[in-house]
Amino acid sequence: MADSTLFVAVELAGTGVHPASWRRADSRAEDLFTGGYWVDAVTTAEHAGVDAAFLPDSFALQPGGPGVTRGRLDAVAVAARVAAATHGIGLLPQAAVTHTEPFHLSKAIASLDFASLGRAGWEVTVSESTAAAKAFGRKDVQDPESLWHEADEAIEVVSRLWDSWEDDAEIRDVPTGRFIDRDKLHYIDFAGDNFSVKGPSITPRSPQGQPIVAVRATDPASTAVAVRRADLIRISAASPAAARARREDLRTALRAADRDPDTVRVLLDLDIHLADSVAAAATEVLELDQWAAPASAPRAGTAPLRHLGTTSGLWRLLDEIAADRIADGVVLRPLAAQPALARLAELGRNPLTASTFRHRLGLPRPLSRYATAPSN
């Protein structure tokens, strides 16, 4: 590829983003809830040189009736399950903060970072649906401003907890009998509108210090949080030109927020279906659409860019995205996971060599905000 700095992730949603993708003969739908399915999917992506895997999640069952894929495993669980089977790929489970405790999320993602030797990320999401609110029965459904204000606070809590142990807190000092230097553990004492959390974390600082945070910028509320907090900002756009304009807007906003835009990657969603020819791809997608109708309702929000065609066509598109600064990377979303995964190796990307996800993104490992002196 002309510009190898383009970041290429894949989003693995069940048997594919298309709700009828399970009906393909090659879908492995029977295995969807097994560890083997997910290990195979993520290791295949890793071997194809994909930089990271996004794992979607939700507390709501998929709508659409008996004809669509229903059910989903906990995304952090899936990421942990595949951690030991993979060695280079970044693992980005979605986890919603609306009903979950930030203390739990903080240790879950930090532990994923330990289990993957520094490859953990977290896509922060919110639970917009009434269904999720009723499934918890703890509070009412919230509007976007309220949801993302809460998410903003949750990220702050999690981020402080990740820093609450300095890197060299464990000392094992036999003469004094001390296992830790408690002066290197810190109460975070966060008090906000949604949480008050004392800290410190029970989990020591993880290999990356701060795992990678991703946020999908879909509306003003989520965009504001993404600009303030994300390492990876996901966008959806109807055309390459719209994506390029969106990226420029985000970079302006990042500068205004006193952040270096070159330390944040804007990732463009790209729905894909790969086949031997453009015509074959179109025929196969038509088959998926016919299976799905009339069960699936049109998706809300911007319909993402699509590439339905050959792998070499995708290669040219990625080249164009890199060359024209349309985005800093893409999130490939296979309409049907198995055929796409089988062909991704044809992109000819180099195997992953970076030791941590941060390293792969060219980001330094941050010092704990509470550290008083540089670590040894």
Binding site: E101, F103, K134
Partner: protein, 456 residues
């Protein structure tokens, strides 16, 4: 001849406490995944039933400061167990998860995910939080009254089971030709004193239906709750006589819940020390206890009862003459030792005087738990004796070294137990319920207790 009663063994990861001898040169990280993987693989090599992981939600404090003498720092239970599912094939994966600071729908999804991803190896030790101190890390806070915490625990179990039961057994179809992935999933409603949940659960029935339920309470209420709902009880009653009394009591409570004695396994926690000779083993045991209860740790234990600063006392000298303070809780984040500090102090003084013990020696005595000490053949005989005499169905072993503390046991004691005909020579099933000899739970529950939760 009737076959010998079979011993069940599980491995406890030595986490945050003074069991772990962290000063030993062979003591490695308590947080790196490689340590968990090593212990779990060793347990699986030894054909153990399960790996057990405890949980902490707030760092322990002593005299208003973070306790710094014992091992501190542990990972998230679910994340570690799911990751271990990737490096083991048969071993059960058991975790303590608190019912006070988690919500039923999320817990149900997390445990069902672990059970699916591990192929039916999940177990849940459901506990309640000890105090508002822990609550300071959660938005729920610490407002829940003590009595309500147990009510909430029971309702969390009820709600998670209702959710796990909510997909009919034949709901997942995957019929490509007919275009049916899954039949409609009915809405589950759970309305209890603390929950008002209405939702469609997100996963089909997992291999075990429910995770294996572990329970650890020892009060009368706790024993009753265990008899009604638990698959295995995790106890401290490790000595032969105390074990037999507890065992008979628990198994005797099962009939009123329509359960048979083999539906509940009694698994006390126990440590072990091996040696080439009996004398060698006892020497090693003594050395390990001295490492576990160092001078500073001995004073800290004493301060837990006395409720005051005793740092001026010599750990190798006599117990303090000063009386304990009343109702001063100077250790937070761990179950308190003494309900009546003055009575405990009196008893400890009497014991120290009678046996001529220093502070440190006394603490070593009074904090000891069931320990099997001897040659591998002797330790196998002791364990077997407890099981054959109905003092236990097996043990949850707590090694004193991370992560290699189980290696010698698996290499040397397991073959002795196998030779006695008391321990499996291969896994005969693939789920944890198989290992424990438990029936699949779903059918029984679906027709009885849990209809109420769904219909209410």
């Amino acid at each position: 001849m009737t076959p010998r009663k079979q011993v069940h063994l599980a491995a406890h990861f030595p986490g945050v406490n003074n069991t772990t001898v962290w000063a030993d040169p062979d003591s490695k990280s308590q947080i790196d995944f490689s340590s968990f993987a090593h212990l779990a693989r060793t347990a699986e090599r030894g054909l153990f039933d399960f790996f057990f992981l405890a949980e902490g939600l707030r760092l322990r404090e002593h005299r208003d400061r973070i306790h710094d003498l014992d091992v501190v720092g542990r990972p998230d239970t679910f994340t570690v167990l799911n990751a271990l599912a990737g490096v083991t094939e048969k071993l059960g994966l058991a975790g303590t998860i608190n019912t006070t600071f988690n919500e039923p729908f999320e817990l149900a999804k997390q445990f069902a995910s672990l059970d699916h991803l591990s192929g039916g190896r999940a177990a849940w030790n459901a506990v309640t939080s000890s105090d508002a101190f822990t609550g300071e890390n959660f938005r729920r806070g610490g407002y829940l009254e003590h009595s309500q915490r147990y009510q909430r625990a029971a309702e969390v179990v009820q709600a998670t089971r209702a959710l796990w039961d909510s997909w009919p057994d034949d709901a997942l179809v995957v019929d490509r030709a007919a275009g049916v992935f899954a039949h409609d999933v009915p809405e589950t409603q759970v309305r209890t004193s603390q929950f008002d949940i209405t939702g469609r659960f997100v996963l089909p029935p997992s291999p075990q239906g429910y995770p294996v339920q572990l329970q650890a309470g020892d009060s009368d209420d706790g024993r009753e709750f265990g008899a009604a709902t638990a698959d295995a009880i995790f106890t401290g009653h490790g000595t032969l006589e105390a074990g037999q009394r507890f065992y008979a009591d628990l198994k005797g409570r099962l009939a009123k819940y329509g359960r048979t004695p083999d539906e509940l396994k009694i698994l006390p926690a126990a440590t072990f020390v091996l040696g080439d000779t009996e004398a060698d083993a006892h020497d090693r045991a003594r050395h390990i206890r001295l490492q576990q209860v160092g001078p500073q740790t001995a004073i800290a234990f004493l301060e837990q009862v006395w409720g005051r600063d005793l740092s001026g006392y010599d750990p190798d000298g006599p117990l303090p003459e000063v009386e304990p303070a009343d109702n001063v809780d100077i250790t937070r984040g761990r179950v308190r030792h003494a309900k009546d500090p003055r009575a405990v102090a009196q008893a400890w003084r009497a014991k120290a005087e009678a046996e001529n013990l220093t502070i440190r020696e006394l603490i070593i005595e009074v904090t000891a738990r069931q320990q099997f000490v001897g040659t591998p053949a002797q330790v196998a005989a002791q364990i077997d004796e407890h099981v054959q005499a109905d003092a236990a169905d097996g043990f949850i072993l707590v090694p004193h070294l991370t992560p290699g503390g189980l290696d010698e046991f698996v290499d040397r004691v397991v073959p002795e137990l196998q030779e006695r005909g008391s321990f499996r020579t291969e896994y005969t099933g693939s789920t944890l319920r198989d290992h424990l000899g438990l029936r699949p739970p779903r059918t029984a529950h679906r027709s009885t207790a849990h209809e109420g939760a769904r219909a209410s």
